[in-house]
Symmetry: C2
Subunit: 309 residues, 2 copies
């Protein structure tokens, strides 16, 4: 079982409107809802790839109930979210049918109490025992200490479970110092962590800061990886067009999936890059197109060098 | 007990954002939620005036549970909403903190099945027995027949319960023909019903179409009433500035409240006009400012003539 942690889960709502105009009143022509937050998105892709996945983090209120009901109804996913008193946040994506543009409204999430944070840490320890890998994903809700991911990384390492960290800012900086097995920053997150806007230099620097492996997602340029086994770049066969929402989460799912299957790094990166591109090209934001994924998988170029033993 | 009917209840959500820009991503700085739909708003004002109020209509899904929980927690309100399979709609008001402007996103509401509509009609009949008055408010959700209000007006009249109808379009046209005791159209609704943009003429015409009394809400110009007892105009002492959201619902609450207290028409109109103005001036949309209401109540000018007996 793969464990994903989403401390700031969300109910992701998409509205379609004819044309969004500030100060006007709009009739919403279509409403869709699904569980969200980065770790939940990673779990959905892992389940679609055939893995058993347990989802933990926090959920509360009426929105939290919807999130849990939907997770439970998804084949391959097990809901192990920890209940909290506050209500799970909503995110609202308003799609303008005229232009196709999306306007995003994100609630910040409920405050987590010290007792709820303690309850989560206990549940997390129990869930690690049967886990083959764990992903720690996304932002921290109010009330969770900024060093939270560092602690969760240490607990996973002590349990001998490979741990991937995908967050940003100070939680990433502190988490990296706790020596996670993999981090997957995007270009901005990597620059913020290292102070360098030169991806190769920044990737190597992030390893020096504590991450065993760094996989930087560089948008249309694919992935750049620095690992103990070597350095690689994975590039899709052609620039992909579409909606980048969730592409990073699909890359994380690809890395984790291939890690637990004990594939070598170049195969992990090819899977991650193909899933990411297949997500950008899918008609629904955050989903991946299986046909495109399978077609791309053999066509991702992975170039690089193996480290001297 | 006063009964209010809201067939298309809502969970009204207000978001505050620094500045709303289409195609951008926004952090919501403040989220407020409350039960909504016109009849629910009327009930809230009636309860604040000290009346016992029963709220019926439909509620379903996670949003419906929130609506019911909040209603139950409001002193003076009794929740008698009829459960449905679909989820109660949300409305989202996005307040731009820079300009104060509001952008509105309204879901259309769940489809009501024939069995659910039949269950409502039975519950409605039972709830009328102890009611001193009933208000039928707002739009019809998908699945409810366009003649719904006409039937509900007839049932109330057969039970001897005074009935106020506040809706628009074809449901208003059909409802008026069933002879409600009071209708409270705004200027647009009155023009749509009668074809006349001249309020006095249109008000008299609406009476000829079947309404025993017509109280037209004319925004800053106050109320214009045509009743079997006479014709009046009720005007606040000075033009009011603020947010007109809910002003019409407060006027309905004022009319109903004064009706069950058997006050004469001029007093009913003064109360409705004062409540309406105190709602426009309140800091929170849809609430009324009690101090302003009490101060205005004696200063509303009611002019007109009593009909010849």
């Amino acid at each position: 079982m793969i464990l994903t942690v989403t401390l700031n889960t969300a109910l992701d709502i998409t509205y379609r409107v004819a044309a969004l105009r500030p100060h006007a009143s709009h009739r919403v022509s279509e409403v869709t809802e699904r569980p969200g937050g980065k770790g939940v998105n990673v779990a959905r892709v892992l389940a679609a790839l055939g893995h058993e996945v347990t989802v933990t983090g926090f959920a509360g209120g009426a929105t939290g109930r919807v999130v849990r009901d939907r997770l439970t109804a998804t084949p391959g996913l097990v809901d192990a979210l920890v209940p909290i008193g506050g209500a799970t946040r909503r995110t609202i994506a308003v799609v303008d049918e005229r232009t196709g543009d999306t306007t995003q409204l994100n609630e910040s999430g409920p405050a987590v109490t010290p007792a709820e944070w303690a309850a989560f840490q206990e549940a997390y320890g129990d869930l690690l025992a049967p886990a083959s890998a764990v992903a720690l994903c996304g932002s921290l809700p109010p009330g969770v200490p900024v060093g939270a991911y560092a602690g969760l990384v240490r607990t996973a390492r002590a349990a001998g479970v490979p741990v991937l960290l995908d967050t940003s800012g100070e939680p990433l900086r502190r988490g990296v110092a706790a020596r996670p097995d993999v981090i997957k920053p995007n270009a901005d997150e990597l620059a913020e962590l290292t102070g360098s806007h030169e991806p190769l230099r920044a990737t190597l620097d992030a390893r020096r800061r504590g991450a065993r492996a760094v996989v930087a997602s560089l948008g249309a340029e694919g992935l750049l990886a620095a690992t103990p086994e070597g350095r690689w770049r994975a590039t899709p066969p052609a620039p992909v067009r579409g909606n980048p929402t969730g592409a990073g989460d699909s890359a994380v799912a690809g890395l984790l999936s291939a890690l637990v299957e004990r594939l070598p790094w170049p195969d992990r990166l090819a899977r991650a890059a193909a899933l990411s591109a297949a997500t950008v090209q899918a008609p629904t934001a955050g989903e991946f197109d299986r046909g495109i994924y399978e077609e791309l998988l053999g066509r991702v170029a992975v170039t690089g060098e193996v480290s001297a033993a």
